[in-house]
């Protein structure tokens, strides 16, 4: 086990990348702590899988280094890295039995038979396949095959890290929940570094201690779920995390106020002069409907999701979502929306701006 460091890492599938858009991964410096449980979140095609494959050595990065602890592993083949990886679609060795499938990674490393048997039985119990150990892997259902893939990923105890590439896509919802819980338990038990790729935020937030959000080949934020919720570092994080995502509006920032739709909105802090396109972001949880205070809105519809209601509204032609807690009245006299000042984030060209004064406090 080791800490994994990505140093000035970038990757392009073109031999001589000319512009930044030709990079699948833009230059990044990140440290993955030993024993951390990370979720790698982002929309399809943002470079999540490329990043995983670089860590496991299936892809050699075109720029930068990969370090395990203090050892440079950039040019080390996959076998030397001792990493387990589970892929999105099930990979099983058809002609082998379930038992041989699970034992394969151990046998290839020359472990003795008694140890192999003990490990295989343990993992089989964990994935619920004890009864089918002697069946051929061919002919099993897709989710049974994926469970075998997961099992093969977890069967080795001494791995540096286990990488999961959207492993639960083909598994039915109930089993998904159970397997996720087991992964979490496995993590607590063995403290392997785990990186879990997904584009499902619930999956990411329940699994991980730290969530890494990628957007367009860049890691835009790495933090606890709470960080991502409170202070999204990029408008994409604001929009992607949360249900519904953050509301964003173009606004002119001057000191501790933002001019938005002809209304001065108070910010929780004062900002210096900002270059570029400025936006303010406010989560639906921190917007309240008022009878005249704040920005004028037009309510389009109200969705009752049980614990709260989501108000789909419009302000100046832009969508505005509001979460109204239970019991709060919604009426035709509520024509404006007020933003909680210390919950407003300011963005310049999509990146979060830190306030000039430190008056801001986050509960």
């Amino acid at each position: 086990m080791a800490q994994i460091t990505l140093s000035k890492l970038a990757h392009s599938y073109f031999p001589n990348p000319k512009s930044e858009s030709e990079f699948a991964l833009k230059e990044m410096d990140h440290v993955w702590d030993d024993g951390g449980a990370y979720a790698l979140l982002g929309s399809s095609g943002c470079g999540k899988t490329t990043l995983l494959n670089i860590i496991s050595g299936l892809v050699r990065p075109s720029h930068g280094r990969v370090l395990f602890g203090a050892t440079d592993m950039t040019d080390a083949p996959t076998a030397e890295r001792n990493i387990a990886q589970v892929f999105q679609f099930p990979v099983v060795y058809d002609t082998m039995t379930v038992r041989d499938n699970l034992a394969f990674p151990l046998r290839n490393r020359g472990k003795d038979a008694a140890y192999v048997k003990a490990r295989v039985d343990h993992i089989a119990a964990m994935i619920g396949m004890e009864a089918r150990l002697n069946h051929k892997a061919r002919g099993l259902t897709a989710d049974a095959k994926q469970k075998i893939s997961l099992g093969r990923g977890m069967v080795r105890e001494d791995v540096n890290a286990i990488l999961f590439d959207e492993p639960l896509t083909v598994i039915d919802p109930h089993m998904k929940w159970e397997l996720r819980t087991q992964l979490k338990q496995l993590h607590r038990e063995f403290r392997h570094t785990m990186i879990y790729v997904t584009h499902d935020q619930t999956e990411a937030l329940t699994f991980a201690d730290k969530v890494v959000v990628m957007y367009d080949g860049r890691v835009v934020q790495m933090g606890t779920p709470q960080d991502l919720f409170d202070t999204p570092a990029h408008t994409f994080v604001g929009y992607f995390i949360g249900s519904p995502g953050m509301n964003l509006f173009d606004a002119d920032i001057a000191g501790s106020h933002a001019a938005l739709l002809g209304v001065q909105v108070a910010l929780g802090a004062a900002y210096g002069p900002i270059k570029g396109r400025t936006q303010i972001g406010i989560r639906p949880e921190f917007v309240t409907l008022t009878a005249g205070q704040g920005v004028p809105v037009r309510i389009l519809r109200v969705e009752d999701v049980g614990r709260h209601r989501i108000i789909r509204a419009e302000a100046g032609g832009k969508p505005l979502n509001i979460i109204a807690p239970e019991g709060q009245p919604i009426g035709t006299d509520l024509t404006h929306a007020a933003f909680a000042p210390d919950r407003i984030s300011v963005y310049a060209d999509d990146w979060r701006v830190t306030p000039a004064t430190a008056t801001r406090k986050v509960a």
Binding site: T78, A79, F89, Y93, F104, P105, K136
Partner: protein, 290 residues
């Protein structure tokens, strides 16, 4: 429910029936007809019963030809299948060179059989052939018209040259259908090259390999043109395979009855062996399965 009974629909089957009759049943029946009768010319036939079949089954000449046939087919399968897989494994996976290799591999398959025979007949000639002359110049005693071993070697190498591509192309198609994730998983699991072949590539190629082996078995078991053009079945009867022997009987000696009986037995042997091949290979992976 009231169903209208109208058997006129059966007439719609007639065209297929006619087609099958002309393409298979009638020609086959003609052969059956010949196999049960004897003739002394003038289109006069006499009933002979199963006499010709008994003759054929007793004939040492045909047994020898069958032995040579089995040996030939066995050798070319033993060479072409592994060689074809080996070539397929080493072909580029994509890009210009992949297309280039595919075209190159397909070329021998496009050459008419008698042209292949002619090419090798001339290629191997000691007086003017590139191969034969070069070997002679190097001091190798090579002559496919005199020497049994040389004749066999020539015919086998010719078949390998002609048909290995088929096995290679089919295997290549099988290999191309393996998702990249399998190779990645094998790397993660630290599987060696041999294990990758044994547990990933071979199982995934099984379907196409079955087709390749069946096709090569049937084709080589019926081979006629190429060896006939190169060696004419000689020296002596050394390369007289079943088809060549059959044609000698039917057209050379005009022994219609024995030739017909021979044909039918030949046909049944191919059918039987193909069926055995197919059954064995499709059942191979079902052992201790689910």
């Amino acid at each position: 429910m009231d169903k209208t009974q109208n058997n006129k629909a059966w007439f719609l089957v007639l065209p297929v029936l006619a087609l099958v009759a002309f393409s298979a049943v009638i020609p086959l029946m003609t052969v059956v007809n010949y196999s049960l009768q004897d003739t002394f010319g003038n289109n006069e036939f006499f009933w002979a019963g199963l006499e010709w079949f008994e003759d054929v089954l007793d004939s040492d000449r045909i047994k020898d030809a069958l032995g040579r046939q089995i040996l030939f087919t066995g050798i070319i399968l033993a060479i072409e299948v592994p060689l074809g897989i080996f070539v397929a494994l080493n072909m580029p996976k994509k890009g210009f060179w992949a297309s280039f290799c595919l075209v190159l591999m397909a070329l021998p398959l496009l050459i008419p059989f008698n042209v292949v025979g002619t090419i090798w007949q001339i290629f191997g000639r000691v007086d003017i052939g590139l191969l034969g002359h070069t070997l002679a110049a190097m001091g190798v005693d090579y002559n496919y018209t005199n020497d049994v071993f040389d004749a066999w070697a020539t015919v086998i190498i010719m078949d390998v040259w002609h048909w290995t591509s088929l096995v290679a192309l089919l295997s290549y198609a099988g290999l191309q259908s393996i998702p990249e994730a399998y190779y990645q998983a094998a790397k993660i699991d630290q599987a060696g090259r041999l294990a990758v072949f044994r547990y990933i590539e071979l199982p995934k190629m099984q379907g196409v390999l079955l087709i390749a082996i069946l096709l090569r078995f049937m084709d080589s078991f019926m081979i006629y043109t190429e060896p006939f053009v190169v060696t004419g079945g000689g020296p002596g009867n050394a390369t007289t395979f079943l088809s060549i022997d059959l044609v000698k009987q039917a057209i050379g000696q005009f022994d219609l009855g024995p030739a017909a009986a021979f044909s039918l037995i030949y046909f049944l042997v191919i059918l039987l062996i193909s069926w055995v091949f197919y059954t064995v290979m499709t059942n191979l992976d079902k052992r201790d399965g689910v």
